[in-house]
Symmetry: C2
């Protein structure tokens, strides 16, 4: 997938991942990039998150995004802070920019010192080019596939996104990176204003296992090299790319066999709609039921019940895969037909709260015995 104008990307093997796969990626702005940034609220946030927040607050433009996978540089104490800064300095040196124009991002095991010398040795090997694939591949950890999405705006400007996910994905940014790149002309202030709202409706609405990681971030970068665009059209395109990536992350959760999409309508507030949808896809009982193709609307009702969203259980309506199952009271339906309807790669749940005018979506994978096996054996 070609990057928008003004962006180059590249990657190499630094030897951080035990697999020997590419694990060091760079995104280069051929011009200074406006950007916006949302990161994990975890209090044990990694040095790259703390540094990113400081850079963003300082308000300067960026030239380089450098990402390593295989080592999160989290829980590494004071040494981790120094190592993260060193990684920024090395990338700045390699590409002839200032360290404060470099955003760092690390993902992988927690509590192991970052092998900065490997990064120093590998950076000169990276030769950035116009395609997103090398970057998208190198940032993966336990993901089973590359995650990319794109949209083209009237006039030819584009939005391209890459992401990584897998375990620990949850509202408030879990082990997840999402980076969007655009060559549309967008005022820097507008980028900062609109980005958190997109993240709230997309990346913060996915849940793999309820854990929120120490490292995750979602950022958007703009080169401004293509023509102006209407802001409404621009944000629609950004939302579409972010939603695609969020769905890809959820569908590729550890051990996932299917994607669950929950849509909650007629909620009393947008926050109510979001929390109800999130509660459904985060519920272990819903996840395990759908893993077994069990049309268990009772677990959906219970999840919405403890989500905090306002509703009357005697008025709510629940459909799974368009089969009405509850409408203030249980509805009769063909259980065997419902089981067959759930036996697919994507299962949609609709909950009509009949309380207000707001709606939201959320996404998560089912929960399989493989998830447990995987996480009992993998030291993060």
């Amino acid at each position: 997938m070609k990057l928008p104008e003004g962006f180059l990307a590249g990657a190499t093997r630094a030897g951080i991942k035990p697999s020997g796969n590419p694990d060091l990626a760079v995104l280069l702005g051929q011009v200074p990039l406006d950007w916006a940034f949302v990161a994990t609220k975890n209090r044990a946030a990694a040095p790259c998150v703390l540094r990113g927040r400081q850079l963003f607050a300082a308000g300067g433009r960026l030239r380089v995004l450098v990402v390593n996978a295989g080592n999160a540089n989290a829980g590494t104490g004071e040494r981790g802070v120094a190592d993260d800064l060193r990684m920024a300095e090395l990338a700045a040196e390699r590409f002839g920019v200032a360290p404060e124009e470099v955003l760092t991002a690390s993902t992988g095991v927690i509590g192991v010192p970052l092998p900065v010398e490997k990064i120093a040795a590998a950076l000169p090997l990276i030769q950035p080019g116009p395609l997103a694939e090398p970057f998208a591949e190198a940032i993966l950890t336990t993901d089973t596939r590359v995650k990319m999405a794109e949209a083209t705006l009237p006039g030819g400007a584009r939005v391209v996104g890459v992401a990584k996910g897998a375990g620990m994905i949850h509202p408030n940014m879990a082990t997840m990176f999402a980076f969007l790149f655009t060559d549309a002309v967008v005022p820097a202030e507008e980028l900062r204003r609109g980005w958190p709202g997109v993240v709230a409706r997309t990346f913060n609405q996915i849940s793999v296992d309820g854990d929120t990681s120490t490292n995750d971030m979602a950022a958007i970068f703009a080169s401004g090299l293509k023509g102006r665009v209407g802001l409404e059209v621009f944000w629609e395109a950004v939302y579409a790319v972010a939603r695609d990536l969020a769905r890809e992350i959820a569908a590729d959760g550890e051990g996932a066999t299917k994607l669950i999409e929950a849509r909650v309508i007629h909620a009393a507030s947008e926050e109510d709609a979001r929390r109800a949808a999130r509660a459904i896809v985060a519920s272990l009982l819903v996840k395990t039921a759908l893993h077994g193709n069990d049309p268990n609307w009772g677990r959906v009702l219970a999840a919405v019940g403890y989500s905090g969203a306002a509703f009357d259980p005697l008025r709510v309506r629940i459909e799974i895969e368009d089969i009405p199952m509850y409408d203030g009271a249980p509805l009769p339906f063909d259980r065997e037909a419902a089981r067959r309807a759930l036996d697919k790669l994507e299962v949609r749940i609709l909950v009509d709260l009949r309380t207000g005018e707001f709606e939201a979506e959320a996404w998560g994978p089912d929960l399989s015995p493989e998830y447990v096996r995987f996480n009992a054996e993998y030291t993060t």
Copy 2:
């Protein structure tokens, strides 16, 4: 286990559980009972919870607690409300008391009408006696064992508790019943004042799978037939019984192979200590790591990080089974020795936040592939 003075209990087979095991239990007060009550915050709460709340608000004493297992009478619409009232009326008739002196409790599948006619037919078969066992056995659902605990106060008054748990156990009362009985003389107002604090430190500090159910309740009943006791001694005994039951519930979570006990000390507030401890035992990544005997302190740090509790990751200290693993930075330790130390039925995690003066405990089971298999095949 003998019940305190003034209490009788009995149970029978009503044919609600498909297994044919006892599923209808009654607790009888030989005198009117003072009581205190805490129930699920789930908005889709079952009729028994709503009715219990009303009775408790009305302030009257109770004579009968009637419990059925196998059917939660939740998600059953208006019909469920009428069925619950009918169950209270039937028990009142059987024992010669008023319906508003009867507390009902139901647990089991959601969304299936309560078979009230089976309850009507079975109630006359119950012959209450002085032992807690028949009651404790009949209220079980997916539990693998009976849960009882007791304490004796100076002067001979006693506190006896019975509970059920298994899946869906989580802070804020998940599919869980806990009933405590005492013959100590305690002012009714004191009972109401102190009970929520005990529940907050015990039953609300356990987490099996993060789902909060529609039916759960914790109640304490006092006959006042034995001598007066010091209030401090009384609440200590109640806390000890409640803590024992909470640990038994956590240890018997679906598919559990071990009990995880998290203790958080030196937190900035009691709420901070509780939420940090809960986050640890609720974390799927911690649960799966300990299932695999993986000394993964990084996941503990990450869980405390997103719990919302205030702390500085560069000052926090983490021990698992008394092995120091992190103290502002990773500590060296023998991984193989640690694996062996974790290979037991109960694993203790200690987190010293070094921020304030408060502490709390929380309990949960590990997460096994069996949990997933069980919940993918069981329609609740």
